[in-house]
């Protein structure tokens, strides 16, 4: 595994601690994170979405993503790139997430 891939995997695991406060499920299992891109130096880009563009918790979730990554990697510049293309839907929830939600 390359060093870049290792960091990306680590961030992936870190983002499993970022919860959607309403759904009470982490953003990875919810399927909100589309891509994690690390440049090998200090820049990380997280491509992600929200369960709805009208989500009033949008800022709180994106702040949480940045803070969680910066807690372990204080020197990283974290860019959260929000996209609604494709829009999120329930089919993006992982099997583990479905079990947790009782679906």
């Amino acid at each position: 595994m390359t060093a870049i891939r290792k960091v990306e995997n680590d961030i992936y695991e870190l983002l499993k601690t970022v919860m959607d406060p309403e759904i009470e499920l982490d953003i990875i299992n919810l399927g909100l994170v589309y891509n994690i891109l690390y440049d090998g130096d200090k820049d990380v880009r997280i491509e992600m979405t929200l369960s709805t563009p009208a989500c009033p918790l949008g800022d709180a979730i994106t702040d949480n993503v940045k803070n969680t990554i910066n807690k372990k990697y204080p020197d990283f510049n974290v860019d959260v790139d929000l996209t609604f293309d494709p829009p999120w839907d329930a089919s993006m929830i992982s099997e583990e997430g479905r079990k947790k939600l009782g679906m």
Binding site: P21, I23, E24, A54, C55, A60, N64, V80, A90, L101
Partner: protein
């Protein structure tokens, strides 16, 4: 970077918070007034004590809650900021003073000397609110059916208040020959159905699917509901004035009921497609309130169909049951539920938005006591059960028990609201960090 988030347009918490606090106090005052005048429920439904209770409920409790919630939701529904936060803050204080004045006027039954002034103040405060919402709509980037519900709700509010003001002024100046009770009916239709039902439906179309987490809903149902409701309300009000024929009234009520049914079908669609299978206390209240909406619908039909029932004590009891089922069965039940959904998030965002990820933070629902909310829920259901039985049996002791239950509910609700407001995030984080350190060692 995060762009185009509705949170960018969110109002300052200081604009929203006072409404929730006033509403909580209003709910407590309502409980006290109901216990003190439990016997008022056995008199004519338009007696001044009941009018004081009704206006405490609809203005001091429900209206304030709607003002606060709507200011928070404007960015979500209209995709624009509230037109003026300064006006909203001014409106709050003006409305608060007007409500206290109006309720006091009804309580002492001073219709000639004080009511015209109290009604004028009330009218002005509601006008400021309506103006702020209409100007926000003008700037709206989203003008869909959900936004139309909000817009028509504030239109009916203005109509209801205009009628209320004219009736109140007429007590003093007698400029038209009026049967005040008849005006009370149209005032109630425009206020309760036109404003409250329409507003709750409008806000509900955004909040309910959001909290149930359901997507791809049939919005055509909402369109039908919207046009049927507005046609029914307009037709009903006009027919009451121009041609108060029982058959015509029945036709327009049926149109309103059809609008309600289409709305419920939309919510049912959302419920079936929900991701969140388990309903928390807030959503339990919300879903039950929509079931309870069947009661006023049924009672209104009975009132229209009962032969020559107007004026009889029997008809008055049904009329009272109709009003109570609307205000307590539907409005208050959904208001209690949605407070437990929206207020924890508003407070949580204020206290923890900048701290998430840095420290262990609570979930929004952990800001209040779920145990207290649960007890409150069951006591409220008992109140809803006892009240109609007491009225039908004309049993004053049972009514007193029901109102005491209501008072306890209002105390428990206030406990949770104040607990959220006084939540100390620093203390919570210090405690959690110590616990984590202890577990680590």
């Amino acid at each position: 970077m995060a762009k185009n988030l509705h949170t960018d347009n969110a109002p300052d918490i200081s604009t929203v918070k006072p409404h929730f606090l006033f509403a909580a106090i209003g709910f407590l005052v309502l409980g006290i007034l109901m216990v003190v005048s439990a016997s008022g429920f056995f008199q004519a439904y338009y007696n001044h004590r009941l009018l004081a209770i009704t206006h405490t409920a609809v203005l001091g409790w429900l209206m304030m809650l709607i003002f606060g919630s709507l200011y928070q939701l404007i960015p979500v529904i209209f995709d624009t900021a509230l037109y003026s936060e300064r006006l909203a803050k001014f409106t709050f204080w003006f409305t608060a003073a007007s409500i206290i004045f109006l309720v006091y006027t009804f309580w002492i039954g001073d219709y000639v000397r004080l009511l015209p002034y109290a009604a004028t103040f009330m009218y002005l405060s509601l006008f400021f609110f309506v103006f702020n919402i209409m100007m926000s709509y003008k700037n709206a980037r989203i003008k869909n059916i959900k936004a139309s519900f909000i817009l028509s709700a504030v239109f009916w509010l203005l109509m209801a208040e205009t009628e209320g003001l004219l009736t109140a002024l007429n007590f003093k100046f007698n400029f038209y020959n009026a049967i005040h009770v008849a005006h009370l009916h149209t005032h109630a239709i425009m206020g309760l159905v036109g404003f409250f039902v329409m507003m709750i439906f409008g806000v509900g179309t955004t909040l309910i699917p959001m909290f149930l987490i359901s997507h791809r809903l049939n919005e055509k149902l909402l369109n039908k509901s919207f046009y049927l409701l507005n046609t029914g309300i307009a037709g009903l009000v006009l027919s009451k004035y121009l041609y108060p024929n029982r058959f015509v009234i029945l036709v327009f009520w049926s149109i309103i009921i059809a609008g309600v049914i289409y709305y419920l079908l939309y919510i049912n669609d959302s419920y079936k497609k929900r991701m969140k299978k388990t309903l928390d206390v807030g959503m339990k209240y919300t879903m039950l309130s929509l079931v309870f909406l069947g009661l006023p619908v049924l009672l209104s039909l009975i009132l229209i169909l009962l032969p020559k029932s107007n004026g009889s004590r029997y008809a008055e009891i049904i009329m009272l049951l109709y009003g109570l089922s609307m205000i307590f069965g539907f409005f208050t039940t959904i208001a209690l539920g949605q407070t437990y959904k929206t207020l924890p998030f508003i407070i949580w965002l204020e206290k923890y938005q900048k701290l998430v990820g840095k420290y262990h933070t609570p979930l929004p629902r952990e800001l209040y006591s779920e145990k207290v909310a649960g007890v409150q829920f069951y006591l409220y259901m008992l109140f809803l059960l006892f009240t109609p039985i007491a009225l039908i049996l004309q049993n004053q002791n049972l009514m007193l028990i029901a109102t005491v239950l209501f008072l306890i509910v209002s105390v428990l609700y206030n406990y949770n609201v104040w607990k959220m407001f006084f939540h100390d995030s620093e203390q919570y984080i210090n405690k959690r960090e110590k616990e984590i350190l202890k577990d680590h060692n």
